[in-house]
Amino acid sequence: MDTKRSSARFSAPFWLRWLVPVVLVLLILGLLSVVVLLFLP
């Protein structure tokens, strides 16, 4: 993965600035719930 290309930098609009962290947190919570559910009998 290349994260060094400065030419591809973006400046996030306001809505994206708060939406992405929310989505990331939701995904992490979803991942944790799936892991917990895997261990249910």
Partner: protein, 237 residues
């Protein structure tokens, strides 16, 4: 209900062909493993189509092996090859996964089909009936959990990690969004599998379709070509 599996199979096979075609052009073992993982995905949804028509014990076993045991782990192995810089770890885990996949195949194909198979109803999802038909040993159940844990953590966790990196550095918007879609798409059938264990078998088919579509959208976003791509220096996702 089974038309959803037909759609899932179509989307997944197109997706697998796109990934394997990219592997043919650009190389990269992550693409090879993702392509093979998607082939397992498509095989799993294809067996659902067949089982929605008529019962066949080998199709049921293939459904369990591909869908419940191998898909997530093989897709996750692709992410391991992409993110783990030390080739030895990625290589070692791939060999271990191959060995475990062989063990899984032996366990599944030697598992007994129980008398309840006579009552199989093609009109109902196989996901809500297999538990009473396929005799699963403790080892088989444990291996299913281990493979799914490995696959979900690496595939979903890897996509979340990549998206976070792109977000923090504010670079490659398409790839950041692509990874968010891939994470959500991979989480969908994993959730469906968990709901299946909770007794909600009907949701699995829908979650597989949503997962295939979201991951495909994510893949297309992540590999979207842009002018700067011509000067790219490292591996594409």
């Amino acid at each position: 209900m089974h038309w959803i599996s037909v759609l899932s199979t179509g989307v997944t096979l197109i997706f697998a062909a796109a990934v394997l075609n990219r592997y043919r052009r650009k190389g990269g073992r992550h693409l090879l493993w993702w392509g093979m993982g998607l082939a397992w995905y498509g095989l799993g949804t294809f067996t659902e189509v067949v089982l929605g028509w008529t019962f066949n014990p080998w199709m049921l076993k293939l459904w369990y092996l591909s869908g419940a045991m191998l898909t997530a782990a093989w897709l996750g192995q692709g992410t391991v090859f992409l993110l783990v810089r030390r080739g030895r770890w990625a290589q070692g885990s791939a060999w271990l996964l191959l060995a475990l996949s062989l063990v899984a195949a032996v366990l599944v194909f030697t598992a007994p089909i129980l008398p309840a198979a006579a009552d199989f109803q093609p009109a109902l999802p196989v996901s809500s009936q297999y538990g009473e038909i396929l005799g699963r040993s403790g080892g088989m159940i444990t291996l299913t959990i281990v493979l799914n844990l490995y696959g979900t953590l690496t595939l979903v966790g890897g996509a979340i990690y990549s998206a976070y990196l792109f977000w923090r550095k504010q670079v490659l918007l398409d790839r950041m969004l692509g990874n968010l879609f891939i994470a959500a798409g991979a989480l969908s059938p994993a959730m469906g599998g968990s709901l299946l264990r909770a007794g909600l078998g009907d949701w699995l088919y829908v979650s597989e379709f949503i997962g295939a579509v979201l991951m495909y959208v994510g893949f297309r976003l992540a590999v979207k070509s842009r002018p700067a791509e011509k000067t790219a220096t490292t591996t594409p996702s």
